[in-house]
Each structure stands twice: as C-alpha cells, then as structure tokens.
Amino acid sequence: MNRQQIWISLITLTLFAVVPPLTVLFDQPFYLDMFARIMILAIAAVSLDLILGHGGMVSFGHAVYMGIGAYAVGILSYYGIDNGFIQFPLAMLASALIGLIFGAMSLRTSGVYFIMITLAFAQMLFFLAISLEEFGGDDGMSAARSEFAGLIDMYDGVQFYYLIFACLALVLYLLHRLVLSRFGMVIRASRSNEKRMHAIGYPTYRYKLAAFTIAGTICGLAGALFANLNEFVSPDVMHWTHSGEIMVMVIMGGIGTLIGPVLGASAFLLLEEYLPEWMEMVMTNGGEHWAIVMGPILIAIVLFGRGGIHALFASRGKIGVKQND
C-alpha cells in the first residue's frame, strides 16, 4: 500500500463511519443494513485479495469460508451456545482449519488446476451443507444473533454496524501490515517468480499455505458476521456463484490494493440493488432481467477496466500489482 492507497482507505472508512448518523438523521434504517452487508462482503473480498492479488492464487471457492464461519455460528446457536466470545473464535478456527486442509491439497497444483480444484472443494462443502438435514439442509437454518456478555447488543443496528466497521478496519490494517512485512514480500515475490524464490531458499509452498489459511480465517469472520446480519444460514452462501461474485468485487475494485476490493464490494452490491430499479425505469418489468446488463458490465470491466475503481482515484503507473499467472 502506498500513500495514495492509505488516503483512499481512510476516506472510504470515514464514509462508512458516518453512515449510521446519516441514516438516523434521514430516518432511513434500510441503508444501515445495506452498508453493514457491504462491509461484511468487503471483509471477504479483502481477504481474497490477499491471496488473489498479492499471492496470485486464483481461488474460485472463497465463499466456502464464509459458509463455514456462518455455519459455525448457526450450529453453535442451534445447540444453545449464543456467546459471541465462543462463536467468533470457533468460526475463525474452523475456517482456518478447513483453509489449511484445502490449501494444503490445492497448492500442490497451480494455474488452472488450482482454480478448478478450489472450486471443486467449495462445491463439496456446498453439497455437504445441503445434505445435512439436521441443520436445515437445502432450506438453511435460522440463527440467533451472538451475545457478547452485555458488552455489545447485536440487535441494536448501530452497535452491530460499528462492530462490523471495527472488524473491517482491523482487517484492513492487519493485512496492510502483513503485505508490507517480510512475509508479504515473500508472498508477492513468489507470485512473480516462484522458481526464483525457491532457488533462493524459501519454502514457497509453506508461505503460500499460510497466506491461504489467513485468507480463509478472515473470510470465516465475514461469514460469522453474515450469519448474524441475516439471522439465517443457508448453503446459498457457499454457492459457487457467490465465490465468483466475491472475485468480481476484487477485480472491480482493483486487484492487489486491499482497499480496492472494499470499493468493489460497495460498487457490486449497490449495482445489484439499484440496477433493477434503473432498468425498471427504462422498461416495464426490465428489473427482473437485471443480469442481462450485469453480465456485459462484468465482461467490460475485465476487458477494459484495468486496475478497477481504485485506478480511477489512484494515479496511473502506481497501481500496486501487475497481474500475471
């Protein structure tokens, strides 16, 4: 992250921070919920950016860790354990563990094999969730919001919002430090030339696995927050299109910039919300066919939008990462 990225990050976070007072002022509680959702997916997208943007690992199953985090909260709540101090660490631990296992197997491969194997592993857990009748199977299960021993009231929209905000800010800060650290250097260097890193004597596999596990853990946190937000958990959160959407957020916002994916998540969810309305204005019942516009938008971003939204604000040539795989 360069100075510019830090400024963009601070401005973005400030904008998120002033949302609750504004929603109270204009009496629009809907937007509180909406921006809470945006920040949760931003956490997931930022975690993917660590491995996708900085590590060059094109993981196509990242939503699965959100699912694990969400199901950890849901299942604990099902057994009457509502304490967030137990739920959140366990959710992250579970995602870390699965990330470690999937990563250990996936990272033996590379390139397109890696893309497909991460997708397949995600599908595996998706079908597992569907077949677990005890936990709602296909229909999903409801989950009570976590309790933090009276410290934070999760049913209070504003308190919950600032908890998510704090998580996002913390994740951004920690990953920023991580990327700049020696560990981050090794990760980025093995993206650009893994053989050389290997020759220098770095066990790149272990470094990449560590990054993969960290990304999974953070995404698990996003999942735990997501379960709280919806008060509901279903296999849909792990659906492969959801993984694709998180990936789109990263690309849309600007790969390898950390703050870019936050912008990408905002843009994606706002488009998803308002595109149908705009299309409705152009054509009656156009709104239900919003995907016919969304699809070409994605293609256009990939083909022409080098650097994503982040590049609109940052001067050219300073884009953090050049992508190659």
Binding site: T109, G111, Y113, L128, A291, I292, M294, V302
Partner: protein, 307 residues
C-alpha cells in the same frame, strides 16, 4: 445387495459418465488448444437443451428436432467464439474466469427472456420411452441406453478425429504450440472457431439428451459444468482419453456411491447414523476421489500438456 439393482445403477453410472464426457470433451479441447478457461461451457449445454426442446416441438419429430438443433448449437458456438471469447485467449486465466462468469449471467437471462423462468418439458417419442430387458428380469429405459450408445459413438468419433485425421493433427499441433501452427500457414483463427463450435455441439448434445430425462430450465448446465471440471482435472487437462476415463469413473462413483454408500455404512455404524452420514458422504465422494487422485498425481491421470 441386489445384483440387479447393482446392474441398473452401473448402467445409470455409465449413462451419466458418457454425458459428462460429452461436456468435458469440449472443455478440455478448448483449454488444451486455446488455453481458455470457459465457465460458459455450461451455458452451451443449456442452449442445446432449449434449442432441441423448441425444435422438437416445432418439427413435431424427435429426430428432425435434434438434427436441426445440432447445427443451430454449432452456429451459436461460432457466434460466441467470434463475438466474445476470441479476445480472451491472450488474457490470463483470472480474466477468462470473470469474463465467462459474466457470460453465464448473460445467457441465463437471455434464456429467461426467451423461454421464461419456468421449467419446460420435452417428451420422448413412443419408440424411445419404453423399457427393454438388458438381461431377463432387468428392465431398463430405452432412452438411457440410447444415451449410452450415442455417447460411446461420439467418444469414438472424437477419438478418431483427434488421432487419425488432418483436423486432429492440427488440433494436437495447436495444443502443443499454436503459434508454430499459425506460422506454418494454417489459419489458426478459424481452427480455434471450429474447435470451439465443435465443443459447443458436444455440450449441446449432452443438453439435448438431458432434457427428456429431467426438465429444461435456466442454469441447467452449471452443476454439470463443475462436474466436468472435476472430470478434466482428474483426466488431465487437454487429454481426450483422460477425460473419457475420468468421466466414466466420476459417473460410476457418483451414481453407485449414492445408492450403495448408505447400505455399505450400515455394516459399520448404526442404521440411523448411516442414514445421516450416507447421503452426506455420497455427495462428497467424487470430490474426495478427486483430492485423492491429485495427491498422487497433481496433473491428473493423463497430463497432456504442461502449463
């Protein structure tokens, strides 16, 4: 265990396997030659299914409907390649994944606009809807046997084309070094278009045969696409032979596993536990199989190319 049930499930597995092969064949060729990860391949399955259903209803004949739907799918394949995918060959895999993901959204919505979001059903003619006894006492639907036969014929056809014709020679040459093929005076652009459209026809054919088995609805090809990915990973990307063996393996494992895993588990654990764990384990079986194979061979069973 009932041996007749086992036989029936083995045939179902074979039928599922050849269907997966039809989808995986195009995917693996397109990847092997053009180095393109095409998520929208599942959309071609869907488009094939819709075109066939419509054309069968229009011509009022199953055979003519399919016969018209095949060239129509070929045309769609050519169109998609020329308009959308051609620019993606030189991009990295990430870009290809995202752009073709966008294509999926687009195609699903186009289908919803043209045919509606509801499932549509395509019936079978009388001569295909009956049952025959494969061995005395074991009736089996004729149509599923037809699928197996068509699948095996197409597999033989693909093998012959790739291994024994001039086109196949170009395809194999293109897979190992397409720039060199171009430099030798072959029109590489039209070769790519042709190969892609050929893959589209195979995928469409799978969709056409899937239609009468289930119902035709938007997004019908996506679950199959992911299985086809598993197939080409296990088989080794770019390898037709690998795709065939892996497709049959996956088809068998999935179908037979779903039926017999719960039965098998009952031997070891209580009935209640087996009934819960059985379906869960069965739905994960092929992915576990894939992981196991990749631990031993990270590039699949028959790696055709490196990179």
């Amino acid at each position: 265990m009932d041996p007749l049930l086992l036989l029936e499930q083995a045939f179902n597995g074979l039928q599922f396997g050849v269907m997966l092969f039809l989808i995986a064949a195009g995917l693996t060729l397109v990847f092997g030659i053009m180095d393109l990860v095409n998520l929208a391949h599942g959309s071609l399955v869907m488009i094939g299914a819709y075109l066939a259903t419509t054309l069968i209803a229009w011509t009022d004949s199953f055979i003519f409907g399919i016969a018209l739907a095949l060239p129509a799918t070929f045309a769609v394949g050519v169109l998609v390649e020329v308009v959308a995918l051609r620019t993606l060959y030189r991009r990295n895999h990430l870009d290809q994944v995202l752009a073709t993901f966008g294509l999926i959204l687009f195609f699903n919505e186009v289908v919803r606009i043209i045919w509606g979001a509801q499932s549509i059903y395509s019936g079978l003619p009388d001569y295909l809807s009956g049952q025959v006894e494969i061995i005395p006492g074991a009736p089996y639907p004729v149509f599923r046997l037809v699928i197996i036969a068509v699948g095996l014929i197409v597999a033989a056809l693909i093998y012959t084309i790739v291994a024994h014709t001039r086109l196949g020679m170009l395809i194999r040459a293109g897979a190992s070094n397409n720039e060199m093929v171009g430099a030798l005076g072959i029109n590489i652009k039209s070769l790519f278009t042709f190969v892609f459209a050929l893959g589209a026809v195979f995928a469409g054919l799978a969709g056409m045969m899937l239609g009468p088995l289930t119902s035709v609805e938007p997004g019908i090809g996506e679950p199959l696409l992911i299985l086809a990915f598993v197939v080409i990973i296990i088989g080794g990307i770019g390898s037709i032979r690998g795709a065939f063996i892996a497709a049959i393996l996956i088809g068998m494992a999935d179908t037979v596993g779903r039926v017999f895993l719960p039965v098998l588990l009952r031997i070891f654990v209580s009935d209640a536990a087996a009934d819960t764990a059985g379906p869960a384990l069965a739905s994960m079986l092929i992915y576990i199989l894939m992981a196991a194979i990749l631990v031993v061979r990270p590039r699949g069973l028959f790696p055709a190319r490196t990179g």
